[in-house]
Structures are given as structure tokens and as C-alpha cells.
Symmetry: C2
């Protein structure tokens, strides 16, 4: 396959994967390492698969900087199942969990927790159409809160936390679905991090969870087996059959991140990529209407509108004709969105920048 | 890749997939249908992916003979999560659910239901080491039971139901993880069928559920969103991001089944395959000690022991040296097991037969 035919893929998730990763997976798709089997055909109890599984977990630890005292889990059900598992495991009767609302996904996480226990809104920027992340001084919660939940990157509205609140002894839980491994974070700040794989980590069908062991141990034991972090932690995510091929793909993606120079190098590139698009927005403030306030801008999802629905349609149709994919805004908000996850090459971002500049000129 | 290098794969799951399917998936792995993207990189809301998704569901309907009034769902979490979802959705307070115990997986299903509501053992063949399936007259349940749960094929013990009990108005629920699509069944007998994909349907990470709509409608609405069949049924299994690549692979496997002549043809081949191995057992009853009683024998998992642990080790080591994979019995019971799922070629079964005959001769 020639590189020229590759789509300019700005999908919000499932999203672009590194071409090198896809090519390697294709190479060994039918016969992995001379075993005469696809990775898909291997027992999850086999030595070959367990090596893949453990290597993937070790790479998560290394690249994300997961310290001792935390478990790395590969689960199923997507981030949406975590919306329920978090309160099932960590919201006991008599306590309340705080949710910071910064977009649609935070709202969904809160809604799910409301079915399961006491909750409160610790902060919300909904009134301002989720254009920004609240400041530390706007966030309120009690010292006895069960946990505080944040969405590190808001995929739909295009905002991202830069500094996470210091919650003291209150466990901080973060949905990092759309910016995991895109920048350096300090895992020690968090009691639990979860992320659907399908943006920065691999194909859909795997959910990465990084969780502090004392949290796991505190959780109730009478939950359904599959919904207890404890069970998956005890069994190295092999209590039942895991999504083996997805975990293998995640391993390849992580090796690619390492080969790129690790998270710092990837972050630098992500800043460069986002910079290209935000510059066009800043240079044309009356034409490309950025949704996020500049200090809350996401490096992963750049959201913007054009002055009229007609122009938006022309912009999106023209982009499609030129091989761009996934530039429509989320179906719930409309407009335009460019998702610039780790695997999106700088060159594709430059191509989008050029298209935006040209389109602007045509309508000057 | 040459066919000669293919492993003789008798894994219990994840298990062998058809070589043609793997080769086609490899062919279009990096660029699906000229889109410039892998299936893994496509939005689950895109037209291309939705066509794959809907085609896979339509093939399930066609090949399994799913009538109107039933939903076909693609879920995550494996059969193990269904152990909990079934009682969460269908075991209301004041009712009791009956479980027929025919092996380890039935026991696990029961254990999970016990956490969630009232249960009873409708029949059990545990005393006889799960060598057989109980007869209809041995199964007892009330007319007001919430449902009756059976495991259609017992992967670990190697037994399989031939005729399912007539439960009248009591909903019959079946775990068909290890024999789905291996033989003709009448879906109308069942209120709900579930199966992890990783034996007969595709890679791990997708769970197929076929469920009668009136059951779905009756279930409580205050369950966690992701654990309600209702939500997935309403949203065509696209409530959140499904395991897209696994569903695509399942579609390819289903097309392969269709190309083989459909379920009837596959069943005929499965009978032939199992017949080859059971014949060696029957011809050498003092050497190959079949676990299942002949009338309860599974066409999918042939389980047997040798006269001594030393012989078993020699048998398994020798098999491994000759390229056989997955012949060890389940870690909980030991012995030997050959899993002969749909994708295992007749020739591989013949090779195993030959190896067994030779091994017997050497130790005559
Ligand atoms: C921030 C965030 N949280 C949660 C989700 C839901 O993820 P899933 O589809 O894996 O359940 C998404 C999906 O885009 C997301 O972006
Ligand atoms: C009959 C049966 N039920 C349930 C399971 C558990 O399936 P999963 O690993 O998908 O949870 C298995 C796994 O082998 C099985 O054979
Ligand atoms: Mg959002
Ligand atoms: Mg989104
Ligand atoms: Mg069993
Ligand atoms: Mg098994």
C-alpha cells in the first residue's frame, strides 16, 4: 500500500492508528512469530499470549509513569461501563461523590453515579456552554467526599485540563479517554484513571484502568464479580477471556510511542500539531470561531464553527472531497472538530491547516 | 504464508479461525475497501462501519435462524458478564431462577445469580463428575420460576445437550459460548442465548446475545445503563463504542460459514470431525478413557484421560512436538481435551486421530 492513499483521518474515536503499527500487525496477522497462529487464535492462558499481555501492561507502567502501589487493568465495556463501575466500587452509602461538569461525558458519568448513590456537582461550566475548565477556586467538595471525578479532556467541546485540582485525601478519579498518554501527567495525583483505548491507545474494545491498590481493597466484595476491580487486579486482567487482540494492538501502539521518544516527545509533537490549527483560528477570528476559551483549549480535539451553517457545510463537503475524514463536530453539537490524537501525523495537520487557509481565502 | 506452517490448533478458546478469514482480514487490514483506513480506525458512527455492523447482525439472524421478535446484540465483557446481566435483568424480587448444573461454567453462572437474587438447582450431574447431561425427567422447576438456565455445551467436561427441556412459559436461557452456530437449533425455544465469540464466532472481546423482545421490555430500568439489554437493543448495540474490529471479524467468520453451506453443512462436518476422535476412544477403551458418557458427548470438546499421569504427559509432550496446540485439559480438571470448533479443519482432526492411533500402538 502506498502512503499516498492514506486517509487524512481526524476521527474522534475510533481514530487513526500509526501506519507502522498497522503494517506490523498485518505482517504477523496470520502467523505470529512463527507459531502458525494469529494472536487471535491463541489461548489467553498460553505463554505466548501472556508475554504479550504482560509486556503491554509493563509498557503502560513505563510510559505513563505508574508507580508501585497501583494496578494496571485491561477491562471491557468502554469508558461508559466505568461510569458505573467507579461508583459501584467507590461510592459507599453515607458518602457523596463530587463531579466536575466540563462536558457531555462528565454529565453522563454523573448521571450514572446518581443511579447508584449520593452525588453533588463540585463545579460546572455548563452555563458558559462548556467553553472552559473551571479554576481550582471554583471547585468545592467536602473533606469526606467519596471521590472527585473529572474528565481530563472533553472530546465533544474541545477543552482540556492543564492543572488538576489538589484534592488532598479525597480520591481524584479521572476519565482520560481522549487524552491518555498524550502528555506527561503525575499518576500519583489520581486514585483511578480510566480510558477507552480507541483514541490514543489502540482499537475499541479495551478499557485501560490504572487504580491505586488501597482503593481496590476498600471496595465492597458483594458486587457482581466482573464489576469488581479487585477481581481483575487479583487475576492480572485474566479472570475471564480478555480482548486479546486489542491488548496486543495496544502493546504495538505503546512500543511506537516509545520509539517516538516517549510521552514527552509525543507531547511536543501534539503541541506543534494543535498549534498549526489554532493559529488559523486565531488569525481568522471572525471566520473560524473557536469554541474553547484559549486557556482551556484541548490539544486533542480542536472545535470550531464557521459564520453560517452554509459555510460549515461547504467547508465539510470540500474537506471530504480532498480526503479529510472525521471533521464533523459531534452529532450533539454540530460544527467542526479535528481530533489530533497521537497517531495523527504532523503532515496531516499541516494539510488541514492549508485547507483551512485556502478555504478562508476563497471566502474573503 | 504457506499452509504447511499452520498450527494444528485445538485450543478451547480463543481458538482456531478459518485461514481464509484471516487471510482476507490481513489483505484489507491497513486499507479497508479503498477508504485509506483500517476498520479499526473508522468511527463507529460512519456509514462504512455501520454497514459492517448491520451486515454482521443480519448474518447472525440468517445463519442462526433468529425469528422476528428477537434482538441480536453485540456486547462486551464475555460470557462471564452475562452471568450477572441475566439475573440483573430477569430475576425480580419474589421469583427464583433455576440453574441446571452440568459443569464448571454452569456453577459459575449460578454463583453469580446467587449474589443477585433467589435461585435453585433445577438439576445437577455433579455427583457423577459431570459425565452427562440430565434427562428431561430429572429437571424440576416451578411454573413461576423467573427462568431456567442451561449451558448448552460444557467446554471443560466435554458434554453437550442434544434436546433442550420444554419449559413451557418459563423463559429458557442458554449459555451457548462453546457450541453456538455449530449445529441447527430452534431459537424459538429460548428467551435468551449468549455466547462469547472466541470459540465459534471470532476473536475474544465480543459477546453475542440473542434475546426475545418481551423479556427486554420487562426488565427493570434502574440498572446501570450499560448493564441493561434494553439500552443496547434500542441503540442497535451502538449506545457506546462497540468492539468494532471484533464485530467485523465475526462478520467474516459468518460469511465463511455461509460459504461452507451454512449451519447444516458445518454441523455435518462437525459430526464427522468428532467421529474421528471418538472412534479412537471407542476402539481403545482401556487406553483413551473418554470422560463423557457416549450419549452426552460434545461435538465441540472431546475430553479424555490416559491410564497414568506419565502417559498423559508423554502424550501431550509428543503432540506438542508434532505441532499440535491446545490439547491439555482445562487447568481445573487436567487430562486431555481436543476442541473441534467450526474452524478446525477435518484434516487436522484426521492428523490428531493418526497421532492417537500411533501413540496407542507404541504403548501396546
Ligand atoms: C471523554 C470520553 N469519555 C467517555 C467516552 C465514552 O467511551 P466509550 O464509547 O468507550 O464508552 C468517550 C467517547 O468518545 C469520551 O470521549
Ligand atoms: C460455556 C462457557 N461459558 C462461559 C465461559 C466464560 O467466557 P468468557 O471468558 O468470555 O467470560 C466459557 C469460557 O470458556 C465457556 O466455555
Ligand atoms: Mg465532552
Ligand atoms: Mg466524542
Ligand atoms: Mg464445563
Ligand atoms: Mg474452558
Amino acid at each position: 500500500m502506498s502512503q499516498g492513499k492514506r486517509a487524512l483521518n481526524f476521527n474522534a474515536g475510533p481514530a487513526a492508528l500509526p501506519l507502522e503499527v498497522l503494517e506490523q500487525a498485518r505482517e504477523e496477522f496470520v502467523d505470529f512469530g512463527g507459531t502458525g497462529m494469529s494472536v487471535m487464535e491463541m489461548s489467553h492462558r498460553s505463554k505466548t499470549y501472556e508475554a504479550i499481555h504482560n509486556e503491554t501492561a509493563a509498557l503502560v507502567r513505563e510510559l505513563l509513569g505508574v508507580p508501585e502501589g497501583y494496578d494496571v487493568l485491561f477491562l471491557q465495556g468502554g469508558a461508559s461501563l466505568q461510569f458505573a463501575m467507579v461508583p459501584m466500587n467507590f461510592l459507599p452509602k453515607g458518602k457523596a461523590a463530587g463531579y466536575v461538569l466540563t462536558g457531555s461525558w462528565s454529565e453522563k458519568a454523573l448521571k450514572e453515579a446518581q443511579r447508584l448513590g449520593e452525588t453533588f456537582v463540585a463545579a460546572s461550566t455548563k452555563d458558559g456552554h462548556y467553553r472552559r475548565i473551571p479554576g481550582a477556586e471554583e471547585i468545592s467538595f467536602g473533606r469526606d467526599s467519596a471521590y472527585l471525578h473529572v474528565t481530563s479532556n472533553n472530546t465533544i467541546f474541545g477543552t482540556q485540563w492543564t492543572r488538576f485540582p489538589d484534592t488532598g485525601s479525597v480520591p481524584l478519579v479521572a476519565d482520560m479517554s481522549s487524552d491518555i498518554l498524550s502528555r506527561k501527567i503525575d499518576v500519583r495525583q489520581f486514585a483511578l484513571i480510566y480510558a477507552g483505548a480507541q483514541k490514543n491507545l489502540g482499537p475499541s474494545g479495551v478499557t485501560l484502568v490504572v487504580v491505586r491498590q488501597d482503593m481496590v481493597e476498600r471496595a465492597p466484595e458483594d458486587l457482581p464479580t466482573m464489576l469488581q476491580y479487585r477481581i481483575h487486579a487479583k487475576n492480572n486482567s485474566l479472570y475471564n477471556t480478555p480482548p486479546t487482540f486489542g491488548i496486543y494492538m495496544m502493546g504495538l501502539v505503546l512500543k511506537w510511542v516509545k520509539g517516538q521518544g516517549g510521552v514527552e516527545a509525543v507531547e511536543r509533537r501534539n503541541r506543534e500539531k494543535a498549534g498549526l490549527i489554532y493559529k488559523v483560528i486565531d488569525d481568522n477570528p471572525d471566520f473560524y470561531l473557536g469554541h474553547a476559551e484559549p486557556t482551556s483549549r484541548s490539544l486533542m480535539n480542536v472545535t470550531f464553527r464557521l459564520p453560517t451553517p452554509e459555510l460549515e457545510k461547504e467547508f465539510l463537503d470540500g474537506a471530504k472531497a480532498e480526503g479529510f475524514v472525521g471533521l464533523n463536530g459531534h452529532r450533539s453539537v454540530g460544527g467542526c472538530r479535528a481530533s489530533l490524537y497521537n497517531a495523527v501525523p504532523v503532515e496531516h495537520c499541516a494539510a488541514l491547516r492549508d485547507y483551512m487557509v485556502e478555504f478562508r481565502k476563497k471566502h474573503a
